[in-house]
Assembly symmetry: C2
Homo-oligomer: 217 residues x 2
Amino acid sequence: MQSFTEENYLKTIYYLATRQEGEVTTNALAEMTATRAASVTDMLRKLADKQLIHYKKYQGVRLTEEGERLALQIIRRHRLWEVFLVEKLGFGWDEVHDIAEELEHVRSEELVTRLDTYLGYPQFDPHGDPIPTPAGQMPETGYRKLSEAGPGDSIRLMGVLEHSTEFLQHLDRCNLTLGCLVTIAEINAFDKSVLVQIESGRPVFVSHEVAKNLLVN
Amino acid sequence: MQSFTEENYLKTIYYLATRQEGEVTTNALAEMTATRAASVTDMLRKLADKQLIHYKKYQGVRLTEEGERLALQIIRRHRLWEVFLVEKLGFGWDEVHDIAEELEHVRSEELVTRLDTYLGYPQFDPHGDPIPTPAGQMPETGYRKLSEAGPGDSIRLMGVLEHSTEFLQHLDRCNLTLGCLVTIAEINAFDKSVLVQIESGRPVFVSHEVAKNLLVN
DNA sequence: CTAAAAATTTAGACTAGTCTAAATTTTTAT
DNA sequence: ATAAAAATTTAGACTAGTCTAAATTTTTAG
Ligand SMILES: [Mn+2]
Ligand SMILES: [Mn+2]
Ligand SMILES: [Mn+2]
Ligand SMILES: [Mn+2]
């Protein structure tokens, strides 16, 4: 049985491992968890003792199979709760992350199972992130970034890489909702900003910075 | 902002205060929270510092107005989540208490408000306990115990005083569900056990011990 | 290859919450 | 009214998780 803190470290290690090659570093973890490197080192020794990570001093860290299973379980709970908050309680997709951060730690297998059933076995959370299976597999999506699409491409907005309230509210103001079909009208040669034509809507300017955080198929 | 632990102490103090006259004692708290008296004393000093309880050494303890407000807020969350678990997720009334013990600590005003709306502003939880108002008032019910009813009385089962899984499952087996109408057929003079006639059902024997834990109107 | 910089770990300390054992206060029973 | 019993508090210690400052190891650059 893990503490909240241990669960958060596992989740963070998983997250960082998917974003870069090789081992996850102490400093990266310290930054993500808003603690100091010394605190991270202490926790890494504990997680290694529990066989949840592979850890050699100064060499960074990697989840064990069991560690990854637990991390995915926590991510599954987080994303299911986000679906609940948006679909059932009517929260905006920009409001649910912090609440899900708390709900994800409620420990009851039965609760997660019933919640999943109640929600109709959703495949994706409100931000387009895939929901890990009960068995602990993270579904592959094969999405690419909007910034990698070319002029004339007709694509569907499937997810976001950035989850901050500000970013999500910005998308709301641009009428860029998940699932909407857009066509790349033009890519500015100078700043790489993208002019997209939203299906049945007005054209919208998307900065390169924003385009890099939009996932499409 | 209170920790989980502080919230649990406040809730326990409230609970004990409603069950007996006068101040709540250190030992009673130690027993309820499954800790030792010394630990309780430490916490009482902390809660007193935060002005959540009135506390004089050796004299027991009483919630301040602010302390009671917080306690009722936590009880409100607990009971709303229990309603959710039973009504929406299909849990049995004997399975929800422990999960609600965790959910009650998720801190978000907005979440509670929306949950309340989503559930249709329920007045009672699955055990017949009244749900405190958003403003922090505990509704009066005026129920009495089944053990206090007389022969011939026609009454409705409105709540339970005992919340253990065993007790609730026992009631399930006797077909004693909340809201059901029963008539007292006979009270045994020797052991005070009660023979009740359930509306549209077979008569059921209820021991005095059980009758003392059933609330009726 | 080596010296400086960066990253990481160790040492020692602090808080919240808990414990046991000992001391103190209150209650109870002669 | 007092002595014993019960309740409560204090003293001192422990764990989880955190911190700062110092020491160590690894990486980078010349
Ligand atoms: Mn999230
Ligand atoms: Mn999400
Ligand atoms: Mn309960
Ligand atoms: Mn209840």
